[in-house]
Symmetry: C2
Subunit: 586 residues, 2 copies
């Protein structure tokens, strides 16, 4: 038992034993799920199952945090981030006042403390670490509504997406990483007796060998603006579960969800007798550029980054001392060849384009459609007819004044809005559907805008560059291609040059499907085919779907596979002869 | 069955089925061995079991290769490497004439061919790839004596070490990598049906998902001079088994073992219907610096390097497009605190220091001994007594004129010999045992020299720098330290600054053992305790021992663990609804 080798009151105490006992079953179930890839989750994503009282209490707790300092009791505090809403700081895309303040820390003080914190964490072993991580996830789960509102009012999610991506599914991603980390760390036996007979008459050599996992060092999480927890928890929990200390540097627009996470982690670490400094927050001042400063430090041995492409490239080139996992996103596309469910396809695409205003890393930007049109269950449809029907489907979907803002969410940051204005002007291509502001029933200052759909011709070189550029916000292109074959060639080129998190396609032709599958394997991107029902290209089912392939420029890793966890720890071996004096002397 | 989806005459033909059937059992046994870490090997390292006829035939085959071009039928040949023995080229440290010549290739021609070769190899799947790799290993095994002599006459191994490290144990390392690669690639099911019920009354979402492993790209092996196959096979076979093409750039001093390997691999690939260009050789002209040129190319997505530290650092900083695995070695040390088998310890250390003249990456350079002496089963022994007895043990071992050259092997390259001359002069420290030339019964020009042992004082700053420098060749330091505790502190400092592949220690005190184990976990190095019999610090038992930890500057990876294989391939997912029209429309 990992807990029997440490003294009471320390890790290995009753608190630690209790945590292990409480979470062992969930860990085992998660270990099964990541092998079978079947649906499973311990964190329900059905808001109704939590009850209205929990929702109300969570909403109240969220509002109680506003305008207050978020206390973390970290060493090396040398200033305050916030609470004044400055340029580049945290502010709700729904327009409410947040004014939460966070400690600013001196890395020269913090990093040595984090280094020192790893010793007992290392000794505790994989099972205790996994259990403590699961306790942190359980505490976050208990505050799901607070996290949902924190995600909503930093990233601009609609409430339901905030609840899903900000809480339930983020918890799933965290647990998935813990399960992978545990599985990877327990591949070798802790101790083994090894016997080799050098020759037929020689005495056997008998050795005892032990294998201990050791951390790499301090792990740095560079948070992202749109999915702070969902994109952050895999790296955070993978690194923590493998024995590393984790320094969390949130995106300046989205500090609160990760600050709350750090607060809860430190609370659990304290209760279980470990050093609080295993998880710390490094909130940054506007213009400080703290991410690069930290990433280049010798103490930082792992970096998890989801966000800007140039920063991802910078990290790979300038932090050679660290193992860098980077998800920078690319340009996702959908190829439409043919369908046996035209209405289902239109409905599915319309919702996909509206969801969170195209701000998901998996949102498609380009819809490639043969200029001669497509075959459907309703007969052949010309290019103009398909785009016209799609525009109508989007309009229908957004006609519901209550549903529209919930689906669209709010647009985070000035880039998306600028992009919409530019697209609306017709400068990028022929406007098939113009964007317009959408009112929110509750938040009058909410930055909500409907999508814009433009028409491009893939034979036009300028248009090819337009579609190869990642446009932020709900800016989409219906791209005419000469044929399905040309469309597949365009997909290959786009993925190779710009990367993609995922591709979508609609086809009823087996030979087209084979070509697509082959193209996706060649260029290293995952493919979702013929989505016409209640599953959307933007979605990623934790424990089952891989998010990103790591095989094209959009990311160099996946959530979650062996490669995402295997190099976050190393193994130290101790060998000794079982009978030191047994063998014959020279 | 992975082979049933491809047409006959191609991969999936009877040849491929046969190869799978032939090797499936060995693969399964290797998969068990890497989990249990018990002793196992399909490649006997007992020369006697092969018979004298095999030995004679292998020796004749080796000699028949000398003076001949080694044919590979590669595309892009634009010149010849060798056969004239030029400065920096291939020459036997035993003084015989090799004069083998190799094709020189133009990477601009070769790399696109290698890229194109991966398509059918990818489709073949993990089991077929593993089986083909095992067939390559089996063919190499059949030529073990040729590989033993090739290792001997390039790296300078004694014959038995050539047979072990050049053939049997290198094959073990290759098979170990194949087993890890296969296990890693088959963690996800090839196909799964996934069902989620979004809410209590909603229709279930049912998706089929398939997971296909795809290669990273072309993998570059930068061979090392001393253990071309043992250090090269893990990366070569891990990359090949995970679907990548492998370009082999041998060290200029040791081309033949890897060129033979490439030749055999291409023969097996041809026979099984795959592209020969999955494995190619890039022999370099003296002064060409081909390793850096290739490593920085966009097509190269994986680099395996064992050898020079500066090149390892260069690769990490200058090949950000590639996943770099580097084993550069460090400074290994042994701490002597106490022993219950003084004679066994001396004999074990003496052999360790003589073996291959200290040219193993695991050879210890520094022996740290408390200046007050040590406790032993023969009573206390002062510092001078211990070093004097060690000198006597080395002299005894080398007194046998037949055993001495076989044990010492020959010194490769001019650096080791220069180092010995410098050490012999007394410039580095007090000479306890001077090096002298050792005659070989067969090869009069063999570069064989006995070890030099110098005395240093750890309190002397210059001495601390001397012991922290990696001296090539059999140059060892007996270092006086104030106490065992100080010795452990010196070990920590050396590993942190310079890295180490392994540490050794002798102690009978449980508290010293605990401190050592803790120190090794802290600084990330493996430890061998109280070796007094027929197992030596320099040895690494494949399928059981980890070679290098990847947690200190000596290497950033281990032979072999999940991290060594997991990121050599990526996974592409294809999802589609099982009942596309089932779910309710929007």
């Amino acid at each position: 038992m990992p807990s029997s080798s440490v003294s009471s009151g320390e890790p290995g105490s009753r608190q630690v034993d209790d945590v292990v006992e409480r979470h062992r079953g969930t860990l085992d179930r998660a270990l099964t799920a990541i092998q079978t890839r079947e649906y499973w989750s311990p964190y329900s994503d059905d808001v109704a199952t939590y009850g209205k009282a929990a929702h109300a209490a969570g909403a109240a707790a969220f509002h109680a945090m506003l305008g207050q300092p978020l206390e973390l009791h970290q060493p090396g505090v040398d200033g305050v981030v916030g609470p004044a809403p400055v340029d580049g700081g945290e502010r709700s895309p729904y327009g409410i006042t947040l004014r939460v303040s966070y400690p600013h820390v001196d890395p020269l003080v913090l990093l040595p403390e984090m280094g020192a914190a790893m010793s007992t964490w290392r000794t505790a072993g994989p099972l205790v670490r996994a259990a403590v991580c699961l306790e942190i996830l359980t505490r976050i789960h208990a505050r799901s509504f607070e996290f949902a509102y924190a995600a909503m009012h930093t990233s601009g999610h609609g409430f339901l997406m905030g609840f899903h991506a900000g809480a339930a599914h983020a918890l799933d991603r965290g647990l998935e990483a813990v399960a992978y980390a545990y599985a990877e760390q327990t591949r070798l036996p802790a101790r083994v007796t090894w016997t080799k007979r050098p020759g037929p008459t020689a005495e056997p050599v008998v050795m005892t060998k032990s294998f201990q996992t050791v951390p790499r060092g301090v792990s740095l999480l560079l948070g992202c603006a749109t999915f702070a927890t969902w994109n952050g928890y895999p790296g955070l929990f993978a690194s923590l579960a493998t024995g590393n200390a984790v320094l969390v540097k949130p995106h300046q627009w989205s500090v609160l969800p990760l600050a709350m996470t750090v607060q809860i982690a430190r609370e659990v670490l304290r209760e279980t007798g470990f050093s609080l400094n295993l998880v710390c927050l490094a909130a940054e001042l506007p213009g400080e550029g703290l991410g690069k400063v930290l990433a280049a430090r010798a103490e930082i041995r792992i970096v998890d980054h989801a966000g800007s492409g140039p920063l991802g490239q910078w990290l790979l080139a300038n932090a050679p001392q660290a193992r860098v996992y980077t998800f920078t996103g690319g340009v996702n596309s959908v190829l439409v060849d043919s369908t046996d469910d035209y209405r289902g396809m239109l409905a599915n695409l319309a919702l996909t384009l509206c969801l969170y205003s195209g701000q998901l890393p998996t949102s498609p930007q380009n819809l490639l459609i043969p200029r001669r049109g497509i075959d459907t269950d309703e007969g052949p449809k010309g290019f103009d007819r398909v785009t016209g029907d799609l525009v109508a489907a989007i309009r229908t979907l957004l006609a519901d004044a209550e549903q529209a803002p919930a689906l669209l969410g709010a647009i985070i940051g000035p880039g998306g809005r600028a992009c919409l204005r530019h697209a609306n002007s017709g400068a990028l291509g022929k406007v098939l559907l113009a964007s317009h502001p959408v009112a929110h029933p509750e938040f009058v200052d909410a930055q909500i805008h409907s999508p814009v759909l433009l028409e491009l011709d893939a034979n036009n070189p300028a248009a090819r560059e337009t579609m190869a550029t990642d446009h932020s916000g709900p800016c989409y292109f219906a791209v005419a291609v000469d044929s399905t074959e040309v469309g597949i060639a365009v997909l290959r080129d786009l993925v190779r040059r710009k990367g993609a998190m995922v591709l979508g396609a609609y086809t009823t032709a087996p030979e087209v499907e084979r070509e697509l599958v082959n193209a996706c394997a060649d260029v290293g991107v995952s493919l979702a085919l013929n989505l016409t029902g209640d599953w959307f290209l933007t979605q990623s089912a934790v424990y089952s779907d891989l998010h990103g392939t790591g095989a094209n420029p959009a990311s160099n890793a996946s959530f979650c596979d062996g490669a995402f966890v295997a190099d976050r720890f190393r193994t130290v071996q101790v060998s000794k002869p079982l009978h030191p004096g047994l063998a014959q002397k020279l």
